[in-house]
């Protein structure tokens, strides 16, 4: 049998990849994809805990997280299209209106 730590290590690897993608890729599409990767890592932790503890609440939480991810992807991609139409680029380094 696989110990619970190995599932968590897998989720940790996926979450770290997502974090590094958000921090390092200078492309809004890649950043959104990395956020999806991080949400999936969190879902894996929920499902693992639900399965190991014999409690269905974790799987229902994953259901809501997937709903949230669908909304987030829709609005995020709409913002990518709006930003591209307005500024002609989706590199966040060139989006300096807020002087961030």
């Amino acid at each position: 049998m696989v110990p619970i730590e190995h599932y968590f290590i897998l989720a940790l690897i996926m979450f770290t990849c997502g974090t590094l993608g958000v921090l390092f890729r200078r492309n809004l599409l890649f950043m959104l994809m990395s956020i999806e990767l991080m949400l999936n890592a969190v879902n894996l932790v929920f499902v693992t805990a639900s399965s190991f503890l014999g409690d269905l609440d974790g799987q229902i939480m994953v259901f809501f997280v997937i709903t949230l991810a669908a909304c987030e992807a829709g609005i995020g991609l709409a913002m990518v299209i709006a930003i591209y139409r307005r500024y002609g680029t989706i590199n966040p380094d060139f989006l300096k209106v807020l002087r961030g």
């Binding site: 999806e36 499902v47 639900s50 503890l53 669908a70």
Partner: protein, 172 residues
């Protein structure tokens, strides 16, 4: 034994695919790799006995969200903005911080001497639990369920409002 072999097979593929998704150059390739990543993750869910979650993972993530990504890449110019910009020193500091966090949490997880397997802590075996999920979703979680539908409605409206072409006579 079969479960262990399946898990480590899926886990190695998922690790390679997760690294590849954030390192490949072209967005189209990254979306294709992410589809495979989500498929294999659905396999892990099925291994854990969460068949309903595995199915909606394939339908919603691979079938809807990533198709949306693909459409946006088709609308935009896929090969633009591929060069990486930014400060090298700042990136190195960020990379070090994330790596230290990763190593810290890995160490914390392996610190426990006896690894917990399902036999140690499971209270009941969850097999074929779609029926129970449906019951809980429509009894205990009925208000969050309705709020989720409201969230999706808001998502539709705001996505349309944000991404429509700015009209000539009035600005949004």
């Amino acid at each position: 034994m079969g479960e262990a072999i399946s898990f480590y097979f899926l886990a190695s593929i998922l690790t390679v695919l997760s690294i590849a998704v954030v390192t490949v150059q072209k967005p189209v390739v990254a979306v294709a790799l992410l589809v495979f990543n989500l498929f294999f993750l659905a396999g892990v869910y099925a291994l854990l006995g969460a068949h309903f979650i595995a199915v909606i993972q394939v339908i919603i993530y691979a079938g809807a969200i990533l198709v949306l990504f693909m459409f946006v890449i088709m609308i935009l110019n896929p090969d633009m903005d591929l060069k990486e910009t930014g400060d090298k020193g700042k990136k190195f500091i960020l990379f070090s911080a994330v790596s230290v966090g990763f190593l810290f949490f890995s160490f914390k997880m392996f610190e426990q001497m006896a690894p917990l397997t399902k036999e140690d802590i499971v209270s009941e075996i969850l097999e074929d639990n779609t029926y129970e999920i449906g019951l809980q979703l429509f009894e205990d979680y009925i208000w969050p369920f309705e709020l989720a539908s409201l969230l999706i409605l808001l998502g539709i409206v705001s996505a349309i409002l944000i991404s429509r072409k700015p009209s000539q006579n009035k600005s949004v």
